[in-house]
């Protein structure tokens, strides 16, 4: 199976750049799998898990949230606002984070702070669901 070039970029840094066999992308209109020679597609991302196959050095499952994927002749580029390698997630740490976020939400006084705390909590919960699967 031919490989293609895959890049995973978050605003803070480039997480992965290299050749892979296939990537499953959680698109806004449903998951799709990209192989070499895929037709050019541009899609926004849903919170979900990127599944990468065919490169031992690459992270296998990466949780992404917010952003978009760009499939072109030169390969696949995923720009994710938040990207977490699931292999590096520690469950008890995550539980603790969620608890903290819940407390933050309960403590939030202004609408602004509440909305911010809620979005952080939503992100963590989505991550938790991803880890559980």
């Amino acid at each position: 199976m031919a490989n293609f070039h895959f890049e995973l970029v978050s605003p803070e840094r480039m997480l992965f750049s290299g050749d892979v066999e296939s990537v499953v992308v959680p698109g806004a209109d449903g998951e799709f799998q990209v192989f070499s020679g895929h037709a050019p597609v541009m899609s926004t991302l849903h919170a979900g898990v990127l599944r990468i196959a065919g490169n031992a050095g690459a992270p296998q499952r990466v949780f992404v949230r917010g952003g978009f994927a760009d499939v072109s002749a030169s390969g696949l580029t995923v720009l994710a606002e938040q990207a977490v390698d699931l292999a590096e997630v520690k469950t008890d740490q995550l539980m603790q984070d969620i608890k903290n976020a819940e407390e933050d939400l309960a403590d939030a006084k202004t609408d602004d702070a509440r909305a911010r705390a809620q979005s952080i909590l939503d992100g963590l919960r989505a991550l938790q669901t991803a880890v559980a699967h």
Partner: protein, 291 residues
Amino acid sequence: MASLKDLRNRIASVKATQKITKAMQMVAAAKLRRAQTAAEAARPYAEKMELVLANLSRGIGPDMPAPALLKGNGQQQTHLLVVCTGERGLCGAFNSSIARLARDKANALLAEGKTVKIVCVGKKGYDLLRRQFEKHIIDFVDLRAVRTLGYVNAQAIGDKIIERYGKGEFDVATLFFSRFRSVIQQIPTAQQIIPAEAPAAGGAASAAAYDYEPEEGAILDDLLPRNISVQIFKALLENQASFYGAQMSAMDNATRNAGDMIKKQTLTYNRTRQAMITKELIEIISGAEAL
């Protein structure tokens, strides 16, 4: 003339100052390295974003309806200036040169009869602009409590700006920050973020057979607000690197100046001391001769 004790005190105090400036320089150097790596690490994302945006906006013809964030709302009346500066001083002309650029722009706009609104990011810029533009400043973002700049900080600022734009509070937004060229060179820059400056056409990129999921307009609507946040994030990182660069060279200068001053003071001190010894000797000798 100052007494010996005065001189001694003065030398001691300059020495203490030199120690502080030296330490600050070294801290700034270490932080600069980190800020520089962060700025470089953030570059691929911003570049990719621009590329994708250029691809998308090329697909939109001049007669097609375009999102307001890209093409503007057809007005130029109210300008929003987003002024990003440092949170601290002791960094040479870093803060004041950004503030000056913003001030010049604001004055020019006011002279044209336009309305100016200012959002300050960073305490120093707020302090500098407050005196002249008190009633124009509509918001002030304090980043002092932030230890490491994250994308979330930029996103918070970006969301607020977009919300204001949605409410029709302004027509054009410009971002002011300092571009990091090198340790001794930081360039205050003004960058228009709303409407997005037309990305330079890349030419060869294939605009043709792209599938969009969801359709083009929806993607663009999703993408443009993100782009604002990304641009702000980039500006903040550049700013931080520039700040530490400016602080480093300012503190380097200060250390050198303190060194010069110590040298001069020590010379005066030794001269005065010698003069006193000579005077005392003369007194003793002439006293002995008189006997």
